[in-house]
Symmetry: C2
Subunit: 588 residues, 2 copies
């Protein structure tokens, strides 16, 4: 008998217990039809990851657990779910419950139970799990689940033995399972329910984790990973299986579906796309097979293609999960808003995107032409609103103050008039405005709070300027491949970056050239190097200090936060962590 396990690569909405249950049932049904005897979901699949402070509501946790264990499925399914505390004054667990029939028993609630609780709780970077969960100290095992005995781990549980956590945990769940194996507990495979967020080239780390675990355990190691966007977090899917000899099979990224794994025969693995009408399906749906000597590192071009799919996924999922069906943005004729427009068009369809050119007295004619070109090539709705009359009207009212004060006030004023117009359009038409700033300028505070930073989502806010150029080329190439006009003009691509808020203004008047700026920022933000370390790499020390000083002074803008003194026992802000794009109606 073939031993097939279906890894359910699901795209859940945080808090949407009913909707997530339906998605999981649909995927499990596909897996059943194609011969899986067992299915495994991603981490906290029933609640979506990360549920954040929804987990502080006891009712949410118990509803989620009940929903997970009573999934209507025809094979046993190991479902990631928050699990109610084991004792009074304890926190819930990040657990795995078993749903569905056990052998000849009918499916239903009666025979469900908790098979594992997460042991290692990441509490760094975007992870806050010690805030919400009690760590367990035993490894999970699902015995005679269909014809299989499975080790059961949850995400971080597998990362300690690969040495890829920022600090060491006291326990190692993989080593623990291996020790059981040496003591005679025979397992056919170990599964891992994950919600492992994307970043560029993260997949190679995940491959290393799975290979390490498979080698230690001496049996196949299967990882089911969440896919899709939730607020600022992206999950790339790429569910995978590694065998002890180092072979690996990887599911597609940015797609919902099932990775069918034959644990005895890598060549029999296959992918079943989700049949949900709103399923995420971006990019190719081919399986990747890696030989033991392929570490899975992507080439630069692949990274950029993947990055493009990533940001499209982020915006597309954010809109769907928030119930937003159309977008408005300012189109300046510059590279940033042009790329943001390409992302928006890919995410919600060009006819659902409105681009507004808002030229001022400082805008050049080519800016307006370039904006129009992008809108027309993409098929957006396009509008033009001259802001000069408004600008003049404000100057008539407060011109004396502006002239007497710091010149940045007048520049910001234009950005804020544009923000006001875009928001007026958004509010009047029920659309979401998107902000079009990139990570390099935001990191330098070279942007206007309530001006160009206004918007409900910031699709290129984590892309350095040079990545934005790279992505422009990707969108142009994709258009050409389809026989369409490339949306980003040569002049947009080649002009010197300018905010066009003062006569002949260029970004380079205030900032280093972007290739240099990006490199310095990358060294500090991504690699954690300090000024001296960066200077030692060959950058001018005073320039590095200038860049880092601007970075630190821009905290406020980056956070877009107005602290309110906390005088109650529950204030909004640091102590109140809620997801934005989620279904808050789980109760009703």
């Amino acid at each position: 008998m073939r031993r097939m396990i279906g890894l359910l690569q699901v795209d859940p909405t945080v808090g949407d217990l009913n909707g997530n249950a339906k998605r999981l049932e649909g995927l499990a049904s596909l897996a059943t039809t194609r011969g899986a005897s067992v299915a495994v979901t991603t981490e906290l699949a029933i609640s979506g990851y990360p549920p954040r402070d929804l987990l502080l509501q006891e009712e949410f946790v118990s509803l989620a657990q009940n929903k997970a264990s009573s999934l209507r499925v025809d094979i046993p399914v190991l479902v990631g779910s928050p699990v109610v505390p084991q004792a009074k004054r304890q926190l819930p667990s990040n657990g795995v419950v078993r749903a569905g029939s056990s052998g000849s028993h009918p499916s239903g609630e009666g025979n469900s139970h908790v098979v594992a609780r997460k042991q290692l709780l990441p509490t760094y970077d975007v992870f806050d799990e010690a805030r919400y969960f009690q760590p367990d100290n035993r490894s999970g095992i699902a015995r005679t689940i269909a014809n299989l005995n499975l080790g059961v781990t949850v995400c971080e549980d597998a990362w300690q033995s690969a040495g890829l956590t920022p600090s060491a945990y006291a326990a190692d769940p993989i080593e623990h399972l291996a020790e059981w194996g040496r003591q005679g507990v025979l397992l056919d495979a170990t599964v891992n329910l994950s919600a492992s967020p994307y970043h560029a080239d993260k997949l190679s780390s995940r491959i290393h984790v799975c290979r390490t675990a498979a080698a230690i355990l001496d049996h196949p190691f299967l990882l089911a990973n969440q896919v899709g966007g939730n607020d600022d977090l992206l999950f790339d899917g790429n569910s995978l299986v590694a065998w002890p000899d180092g072979r690996v099979v990887i599911a597609p990224s940015w797609q919902e579906g099932v990775l069918m794994v034959d644990i005895d025969d890598a060549s029999k693995c296959h992918w079943i796309p989700s049949d949900a009408p709103d399923a995420l399906r971006i990019g190719d749906d081919v399986l990747r097979h890696l030989s033991p000597d392929d570490d899975g590192h992507e080439q630069d071009k692949e990274v950029l293609e993947d990055l493009t799919d990533a940001v499209v996924t982020g915006l597309s999922d954010y809109c769907r999960k928030s119930g937003i069906d159309s977008i408005v943005l300012g189109l300046s004729g510059g590279i940033d808003s042009a790329v943001a427009a390409c992302i928006a068009a890919a995410a919600v369809g060009p006819s659902n995107v409105t681009g507004i050119a808002m030229p001022s007295r400082h805008s050049s004619q080519h800016s307006i032409d370039d904006a129009r070109h992008t809108a027309e090539a993409l098929g957006l709705v396009f509008d033009t609103i001259e802001i000069d009359a408004l600008h003049g009207s404000v100057e008539a009212s407060i011109g004396g103050m502006l002239q007497a004060g710091h010149p940045v006030a007048s520049e910001n004023l234009q950005a804020r008039l544009r923000g006001l117009l875009v928001m007026a359009h958004a509010n009047a038409q029920g659309r979401m405005a998107i902000a079009t700033g990139n990570k390099s300028e935001i990191a330098q505070g070279y942007c206007t709070l309530y001006g160009d930073m206004a918007g409900g989502y910031s699709p290129i806010g984590d892309l350095y300027k040079m990545q934005v150029y790279g992505m422009a080329d990707v969108f142009n190439a994709r258009a050409e491949q389809l026989g369409n006009t490339p949306p980003i003009n040569v002049s947009t691509r080649s002009k010197a970056p300018s905010a066009e808020l003062a006569p002949d203004q260029k970004d380079e008047d205030s900032l280093p050239p972007y290739p240099v700026l990006d490199a310095i920022l990358h060294c500090h933000i991504e690699e954690g190097l300090d000024a001296q370390d960066i200077a030692d790499k060959g950058f001018e020390h005073t320039l590095v200090v200038e860049v880092l000083t601007r970075l630190e002074r821009s905290e406020h803008k980056r956070w877009q936060m107005s602290p309110a003194p906390r005088v109650s026992n529950r204030a909004f802000g640091q102590g109140w962590r809620r997801p934005l794009a989620s279904r808050h109606d789980w109760r009703y």
Copy 2:
């Protein structure tokens, strides 16, 4: 020989290692002069609390520890400081180092050492300590420090035995110290270095914690608490000592200084105000002595007075620590902006505050008169800018779109024009704009993003509407007591709340009356009750669901956040937690 311990109630700036060291040296010197043999600081006093992601920089941790242990002081001082990890791939500790002379030894770096590491790491609400620190499993003891043997605990360490943590820890440091006592380790007292944030009536919990610990340990328990504001967190000071029989002595709140504790004689305790020129000094500086049967609960009137001092402290410290010396705000003639103006005037001085009335076609004359009254009574700089011409100019430009769309667009437009004018003033003059929204309206989304929510600080953003009314009375009474004109007019105090963005608009057209709204919000936000629980208290169920639904839909505005899809290994946002008001120049 008298056994005097000085509790250094310090107001540190996060990240300002040199400045904080200077403050601590100044306070220790006062304690020495007045006869203390030992001094104790607050938690992480050298770095300020909470340092957030500054703690992820190894260099910051080691610089802080060196600075703490080399304080120039003439008596031994137990200094709260981050402490470098004890092993590779471990996190730092939230520790206590010993600075200063030991008996006859001269002061200096040589004889310093780590005397304690925090055991219980709060990771809930505003606390993220598991993100930054390794927990210790041994209790701290400082032996023969001057003539004393002291138990040493850090903040949360003392809360487990009082049962006041949201979930239980596996260890109880107070019980552990008590066990050592029973085994013959004799301690004269136990100290606790705290950074325990304020909320209304929090002090009674802290008193209970200290009394519980003193009773269990059977010796005096001394708690030194941070004072002042850091971003959205307020620390009230109120350092205190409890004896096993239940007597308590409490230091003043909202003041920097030293609580001198004679552990053998409560009547000899006294307060020394800080002599730093910029020291926080708000409210009275009297010590409070509680008899064992006084639980320290404040009366409503005291709570309101304290709340007033709290929000003034918050804004005042935020400005000082951020290098901001003047403030601008919109004055509508309504209660919210009037109270915000009172807070600003108290925080930075009335001559450093500019109030701008920005009447529209929907503003009544009494609104302008009331705004002027508040400004004149407080002694603010006052300005008036009519927005009707601007409003008309925008309508001329996009009137068709506004008329065809949702009416809220036109209302928001006016709020955004005001936000734009206030920000133009702020940018031109180098002032900080403050937002004037209250918690009730923010919780209902009854406010305009980039409009009335614009500003660098939100002084009444955690006050319910009815608390704002209460605070108006406090400011009026305080003015009368000084023989000044009460700043808040009877008409401001008594008119029906209105946003004045549409003809005859009243808040009650869209929201329940504020006493009802506040009560429902309080039940849900502060007490964690769900809709059914709240309805069971006598509120109409459909109304409760409406209020909670609006609360949940307003996540976005409350966060003022535009998610950017995270595609790098370090993005801004959830995974990047930096303090705003801090000295980022610790490195240079």
